[in-house]
Symmetry: C2
Subunit: 682 residues, 2 copies
């Protein structure tokens, strides 16, 4: 049972607090005699507490506790390892399991605890939780892991390893500054990412699960995307507009294939003030059904075509999967373009024009390389004739990610909504249905940008879209520095600031005297400021500044007289090199695999794959199943963080390797008709 | 009982159709012998059907039917004249009333009818309605008003007048072109307005009641406002951001005074897909309670102040009052700024800076004059220390309208949400709460602009914000025109088009040969294009164009060589004069009234009033009650469209007339402390 439901079932009220203490629930299976009923050990501890299995073993009085497999967890807690938590305890388990609770939890009586499963988080008062545990009547063994651990000799490596894997603190960066990122991008990507986005002040978590606050540092990037895209689509004759966020049930469900894809995620307004609404009203998950009845009304003649409207809005898809900042959120910002054309050629041309604009947003603004291609039948947009896409790649996890999609809807919707005109080229009175497109790019693009460039020091933002492009830090001021020197440095820094502003750059200068330059450097690095400009006594003497690039720490000495030209050049170099580096990464990890035996190993080595493929949907399903990590426990223990999902088809790239004569499908015996890009994905 | 409820109670399913036939429900009281129980006559007809009382009299067999007063309507239909409709019939009325139904309604069996009350509209199939009427068992008299009317001699003027007042077709413009506006702005403002916004393609009605579609013609104006305002607020150090549209019940209700103002209008999401949500989630009616918990988290030290965030979003207030395009809509677009300051002076200074920006948006962009002032205690924003406002005026109805508000919140919210920092100037460890502001401008501003400038030919848009500033129309092409001449005209028009584009103007040219120039003129006038540029044989010969201003039809002859300078000048003149004219109107109708006896008459003459006032809330309530039109029937008959509401205080203008020595309050005997602006309002 999922966390939210469990808590609801227990009617444990959740709360929300920025200071909640993270916790973990671990379930171990001790070594048990054949045929004996195993007695699992459930360990509930602060996430920050090390819980070596040696300590668990002695506290629980068992041998060689190992992380329990799914079947055991199902048997005892009737839920999966992904969803199990302390909230799955119940009276019927009394006597059947052993329960170890971190003494630090019991001591934290007045604080808020955060329960986590792989799929969800929830916060509630420690007291509520302890009362609940006691209410189950299960005997609680309090364990002071810290003390025990230091007392006990080092556990055997394998065991320690197991626990370490479950314990997120494994990814800890040894010398991390307090204000900085404390986990390693490669070792613990998901914790790293949530630190990056929050400490980099891109967003903050919100008390409605799955919703996030876009702070100025990220919203500015979105505004830059909006400004650029608006100019380009207006050149194509697209106009902006705004349609209501609400859609009536009757209308929403008009296009059956289409709504099937969204129905489970639609949020419904059923009440206003204290009165129940007669008809329940949906919040748009996308606006096809909102807009097209009016297209039918407005489009009276072929002269009204093409009709090209775009809107910048937010849509709501109430996913129950684990939400992730920018990538999977219940409300997200996007633009959605909806156009109607007289000729299919015209419509299809636009699909490609828009896809190219999306590629340019990723590559020219966000410095993120993408591959243009077409979705397979399985993966296309519900209701579309075909879907084109820009696919990105997150090197740190080896997973593909859909960047933006441009759909040709054919006449699927225009027939449903009767968007038709008299055929100017047909016989008197004959009518034709409009050919339609819809296309969208969302704030997910910001997540891809962040995951691609950022590092263990914090965010790395491409100069073109960074709210702050340059930060100026006076340096070399010590106790010995004379008042005159100090003034000279500060006023010098101020004039540097001014000349960079005059050059049209977005600059801040950090003159705070209660922070050391080192602290200011770390702060600017955390927030992803592309260029740091230092100005100290040496610089003053030499009539220059020292500039340091955020992405590679490369140092430049720039004369005060050439600031206005040289600094913008450096920023442009950085923008270009960030894209080149990311592209090199993507290219290195996009591997052609012709034979199935190499498929899964290549996938597990954090690559996406280009394989010859037959194009048959069933074969695609088979590839997905066959490439999923089998849940045989052992493997799960070897790398607990490896995504167990199978490889999805990401796209059929426009840019195709040439098929060999008589090349077979990578998976089945049918002949391959094209190369398809497969990968684990977000 | 309100229309929606009535229909719900009858479980009559409503529908939505752009082609619904408007209807009217009229209730008449025949001349009755003293003490005899009156038998009201209910007439249900298509809105377009003339229903002279002469015909009603003969069909119902009664004498001198006159529009019934509220008390009678209450007695028989237990609802007000504002809310009565055919849906208020019920079996208990059988034999007690007479029911006349327009034969055109009975003939319209397959169409959709729109029921209207003064407060609401609803659409349902004619068949459903007829079945319902029959189900009441009330005897129906079918009347062919058209035939009867032409047969019957003209009814006595007074009677005819009465009916005409109720019948919206009274405002009809005689020679209205089919594509144009068919009702008069002064005679029937509300029908005029809904034609203006729809035929001018500013918006379209949407099938969720109270929601509207902003079409490119209006959204462009909003984008111009956004672009201008963003530049100005960023100069003040405001940053844009985006907060979720959802807020949990617990958080929403944290600030009691504040939420009281919104609770009845909050839309609640209770279901996602097929699962009920554990906690119901509100859609923001405004974002104070959404944002401030995070202000408390982010603001750690006085160095984090001021924090100034703005967001462009939509909010939802599920009003049950009669919705009106732009002015009262259940979802609307706005910006909301929320700032926190260390010093109250700093906060209060910003309140004024923002209010001035709002004034400039109205006056410099929308050419709408506004009065800056302060709201009274009764009218201030819930939870604010004080509210400043820009108040506009709609001359056609003589009603004031709130343009935009800038609130100083004092520490009301910062105390509630504990937004506090250590006091840098206070003793060690002492803390101070932040002083906060919030300020907002919505798409309502577009409605004010439209109501102010537009006329019986259609929209009039101020040049600075018009999506299309100039339309070019080739003229003087007849059957006799030679091919060469035709080509010369068209290519000449094209080069005019190009040189105006090069001058940075937003231009369209209308070369369609299936429409006459006259039709094109009317079309451009309807859509509010500020300047029409005609180019015909005479112009070609004289090397000039003929430009015609939309607002006053003033003609200009502009040489081809001076297009790039002269046309922009003309547009600027127009922009300035539109504001001057609107200001003159406002000034003429803002009247100083020192004595109560002049108050209501001045109000009824479509003015707003400046009166010396004591500033006591109870006195304000008294003014409102005492200035409301008494519902004594007679008066209602004299001007059925006069708003019956009383005069609200609009604001205490910053710019005050000087109070006379010992001046008393206009209403009570207390001494006046200032002048206050009162008026009926939107």
């Amino acid at each position: 049972m999922a966390l939210e439901q469990s808590l609801a079932a227990l009617s444990l009220a959740t709360v929300s607090s920025p200071d909640a203490l993270a916790t973990k629930t671990l379930i171990f299976k001790p070594k048990t005699a054949k045929n004996a009923v195993p007695v699992p050990v459930l360990v509930f501890a602060l996430a920050s507490t090390e819980t070596p299995s040696k300590v668990i073993a002695s506290a629980a009085g068992v041998k060689e506790p190992r992380l329990a497999r799914d079947d055991l967890i199902q048997e005892f807690f009737s839920t999966s390892s992904k969803e199990v938590s302390i909230a799955n305890l119940n009276a019927s388990l009394a006597g059947k399991i052993k329960l170890l609770v971190d003494s630090a939890v019991l001591a934290a009586e007045d604080s808020i605890l955060e329960l986590s499963t792989e799929l969800a988080k929830a916060q509630l008062p420690a007291k509520t939780l302890v009362d609940f545990i006691n209410s189950t009547g299960i005997e609680v063994t309090s364990v002071d892991f810290a003390a025990e651990a230091s007392a006990a000799p080092a556990a055997a490596p394998t065991q320690k390893a197991e626990v370490a894997k479950k314990d997120k603190s494994a990814g800890k960066i040894e010398d991390a500054k307090l204000i900085g990122i404390t986990v390693d991008k490669v070792k613990d990507f998901s914790s790293w990412y949530s630190q990056i986005v929050t400490k980099g002040e891109m967003l903050d978590y919100y008390d409605v699960s799955g919703c996030y606050i876009l702070r100025p540092n990220s919203y500015f990037v979105w505004e830059e995307i909006q400004n650029w895209f608006n100019i380009e689509i207006k050149k194509l004759g697209v106009q902006n507009s705004y349609f209501p966020m609400f859609v009536s049930q009757r209308v929403l469900e008009k296009e059956k294939d289409h709504i099937e894809g969204f129905a489970p995620e639609v949020a419904w307004v059923t009440r206003a003030g204290s009165s129940e609404l007669e008809e329940h009203i949906a919040i748009r998950p996308t606006s096809e059904t909102v807009m097209y009845p009016y297209y039918a009304k407005w489009i009276r003649s072929h002269r009204d075509l093409p009709l090209r409207l775009n809107q910048w809005n937010s849509v709501v898809r109430w996913e129950f999967k684990h939400p992730q900042p920018f990538l999977r959120t219940r409300e997200f910002l996007w633009q959605e373009g909806h156009t109607a054309h007289l000729s299919q050629e015209g419509a299809m041309e636009e699909v490609d024009q828009i896809l190219e604009l999306y590629k340019r947003i990723y590559e020219e603004l966000l410095a993120v390389p993408v591959i243009k291609g077409k979705k397979t039948e399985n993966e296309k947009f519900a209701g579309a004739a075909y879907t084109t896409t820009c696919e990105g790649f997150i090197a740190a996890t080896g997973r593909g990610i859909q960047g933006a999609t441009s759909h040709h809807l054919g006449t699927n919707f225009s027939k449903m909504f009767n968007i038709s005109v008299e055929n100017p080229d047909g016989p008197e009175g004959s009518r034709v249905h409009a050919f339609q497109n819809s296309w969208g790019l969302s704030t997910r693009s910001l997540g891809v940008m962040i995951m691609t460039h950022s590092d263990n020091k914090g965010l790395v933002l491409p100069p073109r879209v960074a709210q702050t492009q340059v930060t100026i830090v006076p340096v070399g001021l010590t106790a010995k520095t004379t008042k005159e020197e100090r003034e000279a440095i500060n006023s010098g820094a101020k004039s540097v600031e001014q000349s960079l502003r005059d050059a049209g750059l977005r600059v801040i200068a950090d003159y705070r005297d209660n922070y050391s330059p080192g602290w200011k450097f770390a702060d600017a690095e955390l927030k992803g400021v592309p260029l740091r400009v230092e100005f100290g006594p040496k610089d003053l003497a030499a009539g220059r500044v020292t500039a340091v690039r955020r992405d590679n720490s490369k140092k430049y000495e720039v004369g005060l007289t050439e600031l206005a030209t040289r600094i913008p050049e450096i920023l442009e170099e950085m923008q270009v090199e960030m894209l080149e580096n990311a592209r090199a990464d993507f290219d290195k990890h996009r591997i052609v695999v012709d034979e199935w035996k190499d498929f899964v190993p290549t996938l597990n080595a954090k690559n996406v794959i280009l394989s010859p493929w037959c194009g048959v949907p069933e074969c695609e399903d088979d590839i997905k199943d066959s490439s999923a990590t089998k849940d045989d426990g052992e493997e799960a223990e070897q790398d607990e963080r490896a995504p167990s999902m199978g490889a999805k088809s990401l796209c059929i790239p426009n840019d195709q390797p040439t098929l060999k004569e008589g090349q077979k499908c990578v998976r089945c015996d049918k002949p391959a008709i094209q190369y398809c890009m497969f990968g684990r994905s977000y």
